[in-house]
């Protein structure tokens, strides 16, 4: 009996010690940084956001959604590209609600369209979901302004898909060619890293047809890869799950990375300029810059 009391007392002391440490108190009371937009908001530009590996249904995923709507007020983007793993651990109707519709409800209500790609946790029938705008297709293309977006199914890059990609790129007339899919051909992350066999198949096609930018997820971090053979690669795989400390900063392939919190990205394309900004769950700008099309 006395022993139980002692244990309770020690436990209470331990909890108090944790709660009243300055670091914890600071974290609880830390004010969010003021929202800062680095994008130029040019007239007639194409504006979109990017999120990846979102479908955890956690409070943190919802906080990213909340931050996106705050930035939407500053930077009214029209659509969002999803990098796959849209739903983890099951796809019952309630999962669609908890892991997608609810976190992004405010954006959906603002008529922001989502364009999804399939990750290694996504079932094939997601292509028919009304809010993913995939039109029943595992890989598809759409254009916005002077940009052609290609969503690929990197889980299953078979001969048929490769042929489709070559055929479409062969007759492409849009100025910008942007690919988005789940597995990153280049990544420093320790958990997965570069997908070499996928790169072996798609990179020659990207080079042949002058692809400008490749957006991916899978690794639960943010990475801006050093341009590879003239192509810009981003890994944006921490919209709902984080693998803290996963970036290998010694890899030599990264220009900028972030693996301390969840994030999303904003893009603005005006003529030959593509501006980008990566933002953390709490609103901190973690990267920004501009890509000029050759």
């Amino acid at each position: 009996m006395r022993r139980t009391h002692t244990h309770r007392l020690l436990f209470a002391l331990l909890i108090s010690a944790i709660l009243f440490t300055p670091a914890y108190a600071q974290r609880l009371n830390a004010p969010s940084p003021p929202l800062k937009l680095t994008l130029p908001l040019k007239d007639g530009s194409v504006r979109f956001a990017v999120i990846g590996d979102t479908g955890s249904g956690t409070a943190q995923q919802r906080e990213v959604g909340d931050m996106m709507i705050k930035y939407h007020a500053l930077f009214p983007f029209d659509f969002v590209l999803m990098m796959g793993d849209n739903m983890y651990g099951g796809e019952a109707p309630q999962d669609f609600e908890n892991k997608f519709a609810q976190p992004y409800r405010a954006l959906l209500d603002n008529k922001v369209k989502f364009y999804a790609t399939l990750g290694n946790h996504d079932q094939a029938l997601q292509v028919n979901y009304e809010n993913f705008n995939m039109n029943g297709k595992e890989y598809y293309r759409f254009t916005k302004g002077n940009i052609a977006f290609y969503s690929l199914n990197s889980n299953y890059m078979d001969k048929k898909q490769v042929k489709w990609l070559e055929d479409e790129l062969g007759r492409e007339t849009a100025a910008w060619k942007v690919m988005f899919f789940h597995h990153p051909p280049y990544s420093s992350a320790k958990a997965h890293g570069s997908d070499g066999q996928l790169r072996e198949v798609v990179e020659p096609i990207f080079l042949k047809y002058g692809v400008d930018v490749v957006l991916t997820g899978h690794d639960h971090v943010y990475e801006r890869i050093k341009p590879q053979k003239g192509i810009y690669y981003f890994v944006s795989g921490a919209g709902g799950k984080l693998r803290s400390g996963d970036v290998d900063k010694q890899s030599g392939i990264i220009d900028k990375s972030y693996d301390r919190d969840l994030h999303f990205m904003l893009f603005e394309v005006a003529g030959d300029q593509m501006y980008f900004q990566a933002i953390s769950r709490t609103g901190e700008t973690i990267d920004s810059g501009v890509i000029t099309r050759k």
Binding site: G89, G90, E91, A92, P93, D95, F96, E97, N120, H121, D122, Q123, A124, L125, Q126, V127, N128, Y129, E130, M134, N135, G136, S154, N155, Y156, M157, D158, K159, K160, V162, H183, H192, D195, G196, Q197, L198, E200, V201, V202
Partner: protein, 200 residues
Amino acid sequence: MNKKRYIFIWVFVCLLILASGVAVGQKTQNAALAEPVVVSPADKAAIDAFEKQVKSYIELCNKVRANVPKLSTDSTPEQIHAYRTTLVNSIGSARPNAKRGEFFRPETADFIRRTLKTEFQGKDRQELRETIFETETQGVVLRVNYPYAQSAELSEMPATLLTKLPQLPKELRYRFVGRNMLLVDRESDVIIDYMPDALP
């Protein structure tokens, strides 16, 4: 002078040996990666039999799907769930006596195993093999006519491998679960057949 020349010749010979060693090593690795699978007449017959089986499955599936309400491209989660459930049950009912090995017959399995063995050679392919083994497939019941567990991860099928395996129609997919290779109905995720110990 003679001593200097002697040293120079030895350094030159050593460099030559080193360079040739590297070149041979590279060639061996590249050759291993690029080595095509030799398709014998027996293999060709096995592939033909496999494709014939696939074709008959598609015909059967088309009949099944004709009796299932069509899923639109702007469906609600409830409609998707109902469609999948109906499809799983309908495919199961249409193939009540389905058993393992109907598609992956011994001759086809032998060809696929050799293809996999060739494909998974080399250091980078070893990493790929490990990635497949690390895929979280808990909950998947390896049984014909059973749906692949929705909570389980899907292993990425290597793009380089897919160019070497018999091409499947859009209704079917190859998939790995550990060392086993599965043939899965794409929409319903029902396991149509599987091949144990496919990966080396």
